[in-house]
C-alpha cells in the first residue's frame, strides 16, 4: 500500500471548514485523514509542506484540450501537464474539438485518451447540439453515460431560444448543468475586442457588453421556466454579474464562473493589435472588471476557470482581426488570482480555495474538491509568497499564446497530487521545472 504523508502544511478545506496546520495522510490514492499524530507507516513517503498551503485539488471547469482534431495546438496529454503545472488536478474540456464532442464515441475517446495519457483527471463536457450547430440536440444521455459531466456549445452559443429551452429540459433528466458561452452572435458579429473607447480609438470592431447580457438574461428566464441547472461560462460583463446575483436571490439554480484575465485586465491594458490579448469574451472596461471582482467576493460568481485556449503561433501571428480568440491560462491562474484577488485583499484565502475547489465541484457535480476521509487524494500544495516569473517558452502547453509571459508573481503552485501521486513539483529555485 503506497502512502504519502503531507506534513505540517496549513490545510485549508472549505468543504470541511478546516483551516489549520496539520498533516494529510494518503493511502492508495485515497485521503485517510487530516490531523496530527496520524498512524503513519514506516514506508510512507513524506512531503514537507511547512510554510505551504495544502488544499483539495484545484478544478478548472473550462479548458480546451484541442484533441481530437487540433493536436498541433494542444493534446490531452500536454494540456493535462500544463494543468498539473498550474496546480490543477481536474480539468473539464469543452466539446469544440474536431469532430465536436457531441456523441458517446467522442466522449469515450477523450475519456480513454485521458486515462492513458493525462496526469490529471479529465471530465469531458459534451455538446448541447449536434456539431454545436445550434439546431438539433446532441446525444446528451449517451454522452453522460460515457462520462460527460455537463453540456455546452462553448464558442458557438445556441442562438435559438427554443432549442436552448429544450436542452435545459432534457439536461434536467440527467441532472447535469447546461453551460452557456453567453454571446448574442448578431450583436457581436465581426467584433474583435470590447466595444468602448479603446475599440473606437484603435479602429477595431467592438463586442458590446450587452451581447453577453442579453444572453444571460434569456438563459436565466429559461432556467426559471425549465428548472434547469444553468451555468454562465467566463462571465465578464457588469450587468451579467448583476443578473446572476438576482437569479440566485430568486432561488434559481444559476451559477457562474469567471477567468483570471477577466478580473485582472481591462481593454486599456491590451497591447495595441497584439493577439495575445484577443479572446472571447474580450477584456472589458474598468466597471466590468470591478463588478466581476465584487461578484467573486460576494458569491455571485462561484468558480474561477481559465478558458485555457491554445492556438499555434501561425494563427496568432497575423493581422489582429484575422487571429483566433483565446489565450493560455492553466499555468498562470493561481499567480494571477493571488496578485489580483488575494494580495490586494479583495477576497480571503478560504474564499479563493472555494473558487477553485468546492465551487466548480458542486457545479459539475463531481466527487472532488475536498480532503474528506475517503475522498480521492487530489491535493494542491501552494505557496503564498514564493516569487516566480512565467516564461511561456517553458510552458507544458504546445502553444505560446499568453499575455502573462514574463510576468512575475508572488505565490503559486508548488506541487500537484492526483490520486495520491505527485504529478508535478515546482523546482527548488522557485521557478517552474
Amino acid at each position: 500500500m503506497a502512502s504519502l504523508l503531507i506534513k505540517n502544511g496549513r490545510v485549508i478545506d472549505p468543504a470541511l471548514s478546516h483551516d489549520g496546520v496539520a498533516d494529510v495522510l494518503i493511502e492508495d490514492g485515497v485521503i485517510v485523514g487530516i490531523g496530527k499524530d496520524l498512524a503513519v507507516k514506516q514506508s510512507a513517503e513524506v512531503f514537507d509542506a511547512t510554510g505551504l498551503i495544502v488544499a483539495p485539488g484545484f478544478i478548472d471547469m473550462h479548458v480546451h484540450l484541442r484533441e481530437p482534431g487540433f493536436e498541433h495546438a494542444e493534446t490531452i496529454e500536454s494540456g493535462a501537464r500544463a494543468a498539473a503545472a498550474g496546480g490543477f488536478t481536474s480539468i473539464a474540456p469543452m466539446p469544440n474539438t474536431f469532430p465536436v464532442n457531441d456523441s458517446a464515441t467522442v466522449t469515450s475517446y477523450i475519456v480513454e485518451k485521458a486515462r492513458k495519457h493525462a496526469v490529471v483527471n479529465v471530465w469531458p463536457i459534451g455538446a448541447i447540439t449536434k456539431g454545436s450547430a445550434g439546431e438539433e440536440l446532441a446525444a446528451i444521455g449517451s454522452m453522460v453515460n460515457a462520462g460527460a459531466v455537463a453540456i455546452s456549445d462553448d464558442g458557438r452559443p445556441v442562438m435559438n431560444a427554443r432549442v436552448m429551452r429544450r436542452a435545459m429540459e432534457f439536461a434536467r433528466s440527467f441532472n447535469i448543468p447546461v453551460i452557456d458561452h453567453c454571446e448574442d452572435l448578431h450583436l457581436s458579429a465581426g467584433g474583435d475586442m470590447h466595444e468602448g473607447f479603446e475599440s473606437v480609438r484603435l479602429g477595431l470592431r467592438g463586442i458590446p457588453g450587452c451581447s453577453e447580457d442579453v444572453m444571460v438574461a434569456r438563459d436565466i428566464l429559461l432556467a426559471e421556466v425549465t428548472g434547469a441547472r444553468y451555468h454562465v461560462a467566463h462571465i465578464s460583463a457588469k450587468h451579467s454579474v448583476g443578473m446572476v446575483a438576482f437569479a440566485k436571490s430568486k432561488g434559481l439554480s444559476v451559477t457562474a464562473e469567471t477567468t483570471p484575465h477577466h478580473f485582472s485586465m481591462t481593454d486599456s491594458d491590451m497591447l495595441p493589435y497584439d493577439s495575445h490579448f484577443k479572446m472571447k469574451p474580450p477584456l472589458r472596461s474598468h466597471g466590468d472588471v470591478d463588478a466581476v471582482i465584487d461578484g467573486v467576493g460576494n458569491g455571485a460568481i462561484d468558480a474561477i476557470a481559465t478558458d485555457h485556449a491554445p492556438h499555434p503561433g501561425s494563427e496568432k501571428m497575423q493581422e489582429f482581426e484575422k487571429c483566433p480568440f483565446g489565450i493560455l491560462g492553466l499555468e498562470t491562474a493561481l499567480g494571477v488570482s493571488f496578485e489580483h484577488l488575494l494580495h490586494p485583499r479583495k477576497i480571503g484565502l478560504k474564499r479563493l480555495v472555494e473558487l477553485f475547489t468546492t465551487g466548480p465541484a458542486r457545479i459539475l457535480g463531481i466527487p472532488r474538491g475536498t480532503l474528506a476521509t475517503g475522498a480521492a487524494a487530489d491535493v494542491t500544495i501552494f505557496s503564498l509568497d514564493r516569487g516566480w516569473t512565467y516564461d511561456v517558452n517553458k510552458s507544458f502547453s504546445k502553444s505560446r499564446n499568453s499575455p502573462f509571459d514574463g510576468k512575475t508573481f508572488r505565490g503559486g503552485p508548488v506541487a500537484t497530487i492526483v490520486n495520491g501521486q505527485v504529478v508535478w513539483r515546482a523546482s527548488s529555485t522557485g521557478g517552474k521545472e
Binding site: 458579429a189 465581426g190 466595444e195 468602448g196 473607447f197 475599440s199 473606437v200 480609438r201 484603435l202 479602429g203 477595431l204 470592431r205 467592438g206 495595441p272 493589435y273 497584439d274 501561425s314 501571428m317 497575423q318 493581422e319 489582429f320 482581426e321 484575422k322
Partner: protein, 307 residues
Amino acid sequence: MRSGLLGIEGLAREEIQAILDRARDFQPKPDQGFRKLALLRGRMVVNLFFEASTRTRTSFEIAAKCLGADSVSITAQASSVSKGESLVDTLNTLAAMRPDAIIMRHAASGAPHFLQRHLETPIINAGDGTHEHPTQALLDARTILDRGTSLEGLRVAIIGDIAHSRVARSNAYLLSKYGAEIVLCGPASLLPPELKQIAPGVTLTTRMKEAIRDADVIMMLRVQLERQHEAAFPASEYFQFYGLRLEHLRLAKPDVIVMHPGPINRGREISSEVADSQRSVILNQVENGIAVRMAVLERVLSGVAAN
C-alpha cells in the same frame, strides 16, 4: 532604426509642423508642375497596397519620383498573399530586398503597427482599416493652411461615416493638437459616443445643420459601403439627412472651404453643385497630397526624425 509614420496620434505638434512647412517648399508654382529633385536619389521605396487605391498610391509614387527615389508598386492581387503567404512573411521577404521604406495600405486596422514590431524597415501607413490615414490628415492640414493662417481656433465639421473613417480619426488627432474645434457628425449608428474622448476639442452631433453652423471647414467623408457590415442607416435617406448641399453652406462662415478625401460619390454624400463650387478645395487636396508625401518620404528616408 529610422522611424516610419504609423499615425498622427503619437506625433508631436512640432513634428507635424515640420512636415507641413517642408511640404510648402515642394508645392508647385502656379501653372507649373512639380519640380524634379534629387534629394532621395539612390533610395528605394516599396508601395504595398492590399486595398484598392488610386489617388494615394499614385500620389506616393509621384512623390517618390519627384524626389529622385525609385519606387516599386505591388498590389495584393499580384503578390504572394494570393498564394496564401502570411502578411509577416510577405513583409519580411520585401524587407530582405532592402528598401528604405515600405508604404503600406491594408484593410485591417493596426496591420502596419503589428508588422512594425517585427520589422526593421520603416513603414509609412497609407491607411489601415478604420484606424488612421496619417498622410491624408497632413495634406488636409496643408490645404486648410493654404487658405488661412492658422489651424488654431478653427471650427472644422467632419461629416459622414465617422465610425469607419480613418480620415476622421487622423484629422481629429491632428486638428486637436492645434487647438481646433472638431465637430464630428453622422447618423448615431456611425457615431460612437466614445469618439468625443478621442482628442481634446472634439464634440459630436447627429444634426448636420448644427455641425455646419459657423464652420470654417467642412470635411465630407465618403459613405464607405465596403465597410458597412450591416445597414446602419437606410441608404435611401442618407443624402436627405447627411448629404452636403448648397443651401447648407449659408450656415457656415462666408469663407468656408469644403473638403473631401475622395473618391467622391456625387449625390450620395455631396451634391454635384457643392463639389464643383468655388468653396470646394477637393482638387487642391489631391495636389497637396504629393507635396505632403514628399515631405514625409524625405523625413522618413533621411532619418531626420531620428535626430
